[in-house]
Amino acid sequence: MRDLGIKVLFQGINFFRLLEGLWVTVKISLISVVLSALLGIVLGMIMTIQNPVIKAVTKIYLEFIRIMPQLVLLFLVYFGITKAFGIHLSGELSAVIVFTLWGTAEMADLVRGALTSIAKSQYEAALSIGLTMKQTYFYIIIPQAMRRLLPQAINLVTRMIKTTSLIVLIGVVEVVKVGQQIIDANRLTAPSAALWIYGLIFFMYFIVCYPISILSRKLEKLWSS
């Protein structure tokens, strides 16, 4: 029995298809993460401005994205926008939109928190040695802010990668879906294949997420010297 199960992994192009599925997951995650990081940093900096309108608008945006389950957001974008505006969005595009909106909100909050945690006296000390405001941000504030938000930013990245598994439900064929298809196809011949397939998928997620944690740990060490 067990023998049959593991064999499924090596049959035909099963493994290759799983890798393809993994690539879809990684691609969507990567694009969303990069966009979220860039937009999140900009938005985070904007959020530190003491303007009641900015504060209100960003607060609404943040709360909305956080309260909504990601799945609902996915349905909203994939099905809702199509119905409302008549535009057809692919599952992958919808996924990128939703994850970017989510990631940007979380990242902006992290950036804002990191920036406001840096004492005003650091700005003053930098200005007092004749640095311009731009130089102050570049050499003093941003390096410190990055060190402060790194652990939570990495945590956000891994959470985003794992949550992408939801896109199965808007029809994107990513790694979990491929796994299900393989298991279904071999339901009669290798019933225990599920164990091996999901085991492999778990391993694949691990391979993707673990190096990111290692990288983060290395950076933390490098920066704290």
Binding site: E124, G130, I140
Partner: protein
């Protein structure tokens, strides 16, 4: 006693500063000459720190002018950073940059703001660190240093910019007593080398030893201006007398 014919480095004329409706500094006028050490004393909240911060452009002023070597530096919108390069300021909370080594802390300003050559700056930074006895800490990080050491580094960081005047804002107030001395010694050395200094402090014996002139500020105004000996032994005004009594203890 420094002669009045010496070049005037800093001129404050009729300075007025308010926070909203609260007038914090009222008509302050003061000249600081080259090589002079002016010590500002006064009760808490009298505006001494605010005065230094106004000179350095960290606070805006509501009236009056400040001139650095005959150039108006108050009320500037642009290029204040160029002026700040000529004014060295040391804060009570040292504010070293925690993500940089001691050496990097010191050389950042000269290299990035003044665009001096790195090799030359490093040499000078090391020389200054050696003078305050901290050369062996050049590759350490601020968190590895004691308060007194950090403050000495902060002084070196300001000195490395070759400022025309040094401002010290209660730099020993946050230090443990054992560490106060090492910082004051550095400041005494600077004073003896004819550095132009404006010092705000509560350390009265130090003020007496280092000052060429004592400025006593009370409730936002200069209440008395005197030589250190005169001020401490025979203050002219009642307010000064009351203030100095705070530092006397009866052994009854």
């Amino acid at each position: 006693m420094k002669e009045k014919q010496k070049e005037v480095v800093l001129q404050i004329k009729n300075l007025k500063k308010s926070y909203g409706d609260l007038r914090v500094l009222n008509n302050i006028s003061l000249d600081v000459h080259k090589g002079e050490v002016v010590v500002i004393v006064g009760p808490s909240g009298c505006g001494k720190s605010t005065l230094l911060r106004c000179i350095n452009g960290l606070e805006d002023i509501q009236g009056g002018t400040i001139l650095l070597k005959d150039e108006i530096i108050s009320g500037r919108d642009k290029n204040m950073h160029l002026i700040r390069q000529r004014i060295g300021m040391v804060f009570q909370s040292y504010d070293l940059f925690p993500h940089m080594t001691i050496l990097d802390n010191v050389i950042l300003g000269p290299i990035k703001a003044q665009r001096r050559e790195k090799k030359e700056v490093i040499k000078e930074a090391e020389r200054l660190l050696e003078r305050v006895g901290l050369l062996d800490k050049r590759d350490s990080y601020p968190r590895q240093l004691s308060g007194g050491q950090k403050q000495r580094v902060a002084i070196v960081r300001a000195l490395c910019m070759h400022p025309e005047i040094m401002l010290f804002d209660e730099v020993t107030a946050a230090l443990d007593p054992e560490m106060v001395r090492e910082v004051l010694d550095v400041m005494l050395k600077l004073a003896r080398e004819d550095t132009t200094m404006v010092i705000v402090t509560h350390e009265m014996q130090f003020a007496r030893a280092v000052a060429d002139r004592i400025i006593f500020i009370d409730k936002g105004e200069i209440a008395e201006e005197n030589t250190p000996d005169e001020f401490f032994i025979n203050p002219k005004t009642d307010r000064a007398r009351q203030f100095l009594n705070l530092f006397e203890f009866d052994t009854e």
